[in-house]
């Protein structure tokens, strides 16, 4: 399981960076989304994967004992997913606006900021 996740995370990061390096705006956004998912999976993996041991304290005990699934990484991932959802929706609207105004989705054509105003 860990090995599979490691391979998936590596692929997500690689694909994300590759997509970001393309010139198309749409691929840029896809690249960012893939990178974000890769990061979330990484938190999941590094929070240690434990199967079938929920962090619930037995009625007879007062603290958790033995190995249990750490709930913190899941809280972190949930937060990160919500945040990246907001940011990505903003980015998608932004490229749509930019495409309408600039009339190209080629990043190399977007050089109005370098003009001498």
């Amino acid at each position: 399981m860990e090995l599979l996740l490691v391979v998936i995370i590596g692929l997500l990061y690689a694909a994300g960076i590759y997509m970001m390096l393309r010139r198309s705006l749409l691929k840029l956004i896809i690249g960012l989304i893939l990178l974000g998912n890769g990061a979330n999976m990484l938190i999941f993996l590094l929070g240690r994967i434990v199967k079938g041991k929920p962090p619930i304290i037995d009625a007879s005990e007062s603290i958790l004992s033995g190995i249990y699934a750490d709930p913190v990484p899941q809280a972190l991932i949930l937060t990160a997913i919500v945040i990246s959802f907001g940011l990505q929706s903003f980015a998608i609207i932004l490229i749509k606006r930019a495409y309408k105004v600039v009339k190209t989705d080629d990043l190399d054509e977007m050089n109005a900021t370098d003009e001498d105003l």
Partner: protein, 508 residues
């Protein structure tokens, strides 16, 4: 010392932003509320820094969960100082915005978003938990995305694509770094991390994590070779927005670097070498880049990069004196960069262009305004009694002590390049005889504005120039605060004890 009121600067900005939303279409009420609430925030931050300087570090644990488990907010001298500077710049830009930002932008929620941005900044300075810091960073960038795209001009949208992409990438790198750090230590509280990271055997992994943090914050603070987005985007939004971005946003990155690299990762020889080389290249690229620009806003954008290099250099030398210099420069730079971008706004309103080649004859037509402009411009260069000078004394002294002679040379060379750039700007904009420029239809000129708007554009420049002059002439006070912060950055025990309670000897 536990004190739940330290998060007032955050809560109050949130309250302001929400209050402003109720006045969505009423632009005059929005302006008034924004200025009044900025004044109150300034009062709160002065109160906060006073109690922190008098009584020591204040801490609050959110929800009453004890330190390594809950979310901690820490008000130490560095963070309260940053909040004070944010409030000063926030007030100035708030007043400036009432005069210079167009009604169409205000109708699309300029002021609420502006206060959300300030809330995010204050939150980031108070965060005592690394994941919480990430969340505040996200609040800052989403607000800044809206501000930079508001208006939707062509150049603005193109600039914002670069800005958005790089900031999202920085967030992912930062999140990756947090993931690895959590995997290594199982903690997110910065004070707790400080102890745990020091005890990790595998220094190689620690250095990899440290580099990831450096890249993440480096993109945000625009250090070489991660700075290209800054000169491509900071000159596109309206001057008021450039002012708050130029003054504060890159400095959050510097703050985070200072915090993480003094508290969690104490730089070893490898890290100080990396930081020093990055600083050298940042100073050179920023200052050389500024030299060849023609657009005055681009000149200041490149100078932001160059001067970030100075602050990183102080971190790279990693002596107490060098950090004192960095803190002093941080104080100076926030005020002066905010001010300079507002000055460019006034220049544009008067002449209708940012091009240095076409500008001119400022002194002949507006002698008083030229004198006012001289204060931030010469403060930036650092002519001795003015504010940019004092920090360099600390850096050069520590450069000689740590035998970083190349860095000392680059610091001096960078200052020289800044001087040349500013002299060129002064000669071109102020002293050169200017021809009358053709009137542009879509620009609302200064004299067409209502008198109250004109006052609102000049008052914040005067205000920040006074602060700049105080930093320069009252350097004694600023240095004593910087020394206190510098000593706390080197010896972090007070910070850790304030968060986790008294440490017993064996843990250290």
């Amino acid at each position: 010392m536990s004190n739940p009121y330290i998060i007032l600067p955050v809560i109050f900005q949130l309250f302001t932003a929400i209050l402003l939303m109720f006045f969505w279409t009423k632009k005059n009420s929005q302006k008034l509320i924004s200025i009044i609430c900025s004044l109150i925030t300034l009062g709160i931050s002065i109160w906060l820094i006073t109690i922190v300087l008098l009584q020591g570090i204040h801490v609050t644990q959110a929800g009453g969960w004890e330190a390594p488990f809950g979310i901690t907010f820490v008000a130490d001298p560095l963070s309260t100082l940053m909040i004070l500077l944010t409030s000063i710049s926030g007030l100035a830009v708030s007043i400036f915005s009432t005069g210079s930002v167009r009604n169409a932008r205000i109708k699309f929620g300029y002021f609420p978003i502006f206060h959300f941005l300030l809330m995010g900044l204050n939150g980031a300075f108070l965060a005592g938990d690394i994941f919480n810091l990430y969340v505040w960073f996200e609040i800052i960038i989403i607000s800044s995305f809206v501000l930079i795209t508001l208006g939707g001009e062509k150049a603005q949208l193109e600039g914002s694509i670069k800005y958005v992409t790089m900031n999202l990438l920085a967030s992912v790198v930062f999140l990756t770094a947090i993931a690895i750090l959590y995997g290594l230590t199982g903690s997110l509280n910065m004070a707790d991390l400080s102890i745990r990271v020091a005890n990790i055997e595998n220094r190689g992994l620690v250095n990899v994590t440290a580099i990831l943090f450096f890249v993440g914050f480096g993109i945000k603070s625009a250090v070489f070779p991660l700075h290209f987005w800054l000169p491509a985007s900071y000159h596109t939004p309206p001057p008021a927005i450039s002012a708050i971005f130029g003054g504060l946003l890159t400095k959050v990155g510097v703050y985070a670097l200072l915090r993480v690299f003094t508290l969690i990762f104490i730089p070893d020889d490898f890290m100080t070498d990396v930081i020093t080389w990055v600083a050298i290249m940042t100073i050179l690229t920023g200052c050389l880049g500024a030299l060849v620009q023609n657009n005055i806003r681009k000149i200041f954008s490149y100078l932001i990069v160059g001067h970030i290099g100075y602050m990183i250099a102080g971190l790279g030398m990693y002596t107490e004196a060098a950090l004192v210099g960095t803190i002093f420069y941080l104080i100076h730079d926030i005020i002066v960069k905010t001010n300079l971008f507002m000055v460019t706004g006034v220049i544009f309103k008067l002449k209708g262009t940012y091009s240095m080649r076409n500008l001119g004859g400022f002194y002949k037509t507006y002698p008083k305004l030229s004198l006012l402009m001289a204060v931030p411009i010469f403060s930036l260069v650092g002519i001795p009694p003015l504010s940019g000078f004092w920090a360099k004394v600390f850096w050069i002294e520590s450069g000689f002590i740590t035998e970083n002679y190349l860095l000392v040379f680059v610091l001096v060379f960078g200052s020289f390049l800044t001087l040349v750039t500013m002299a060129k700007l002064w000669a071109e904009v102020v002293w050169k005889d200017g021809d009358a420029l053709p009137m542009k239809i879509n620009v609302k000129y200064f004299w067409e504005l209502k008198p109250i708007k004109r006052v609102a554009m000049i008052v914040p420049i005067v205000l920040l120039s006074m602060v700049s002059l105080y930093i320069g002439f009252g350097a004694e006070h600023i240095i004593s605060i910087s020394r206190l912060i510098g000593s706390q950055l080197i010896d972090t025990t007070p910070y850790i004890e304030a968060v986790l309670g008294p440490l017993n000897a064996e843990v250290i």
